[in-house]
Symmetry: C2
Amino acid sequence: MRRILAVVVLISICGVAAAPDSLSDMPRYASDNSLLRPDGYREWIYLSSGLGMNYSANPGDHEMFTNVFVPRWAYKEFLESGKWPDKTMFVVEERGSESRGSINKRGKYQTDSMGIGVEVKDEKRFPERWAYFGFSEERKSAQAHPKEGCWECHENHAAVEHTFVQFYPTLKPVAQKFGTYRQERAKVQ
Amino acid sequence: MRRILAVVVLISICGVAAAPDSLSDMPRYASDNSLLRPDGYREWIYLSSGLGMNYSANPGDHEMFTNVFVPRWAYKEFLESGKWPDKTMFVVEERGSESRGSINKRGKYQTDSMGIGVEVKDEKRFPERWAYFGFSEERKSAQAHPKEGCWECHENHAAVEHTFVQFYPTLKPVAQKFGTYRQERAKVQ
């Protein structure tokens, strides 16, 4: 009996180590179906950053950095399959940029967060499988954006499922290896 | 006896879960005292990025992104103390930047890695406690840079010990809380 108990305790602990690091590594929803802000994303796996990336030719008013993160458990599954498991979340964090500070004289470094965008793959909950949400710094929950917008752009232009792996240099060879990378979507459009 | 054995096994496994994720999360050296390349750094904690950051007023020839990573175990200790534990490593990764690709029309996104710089705190091994190394993409080990250069600049300008926390917006409030942040080093110099 003691041995069985010890094995059970052992398996529980091992289970915790292999599972998502915390509850916020999986999408969580309020009773009104809004997504709760995934607070722990800065401890997820970093994919890449941009500065002032813009899909329209019109100039923006302020150049922001965008940092992209994905939970460790989903990243590990992607490395082994080139596919995103159900319940994958992406966070794109927007940060201000500055040039002159401390000893820096040229180029840009990151400052305060201006909010985050969250992409969720939740096949049972969303008829279109992927959904998109925006959070200002203060916002704790958000309703999904309408389909026209983020969803449509990801549907039509993302290289791997709904994700812009063409902009994530460490994931690109993984998707190419597994044949999930749509090469034509990396070409200038 | 069985109970003791079970407890020992349990402690060993818990120990593994709390320890560095892999050997490459701690500095490792070759017999000639050169540092081995820390291969797993892309799964460390991301601190921030810059684009074309430059400490001299002279223009550089190509704007590169710089991404900074620190091992999870060292980051966790910093969150609880505002100090870097012995054996902390920092990696700054340099990546090329592109503007026109796929649907992107403005700003910059990241491309291939151009190499990494590594900063190590190893109090017993280095008389100056911190040491600095450079790795091209192919390089597997590197000797420490001479003191004049990285070490001197970090010694004279970094806000927390030898680290430029003035450029890591999520760590700045942590260091301020623990009183380890040198505010005067964040001012324009």
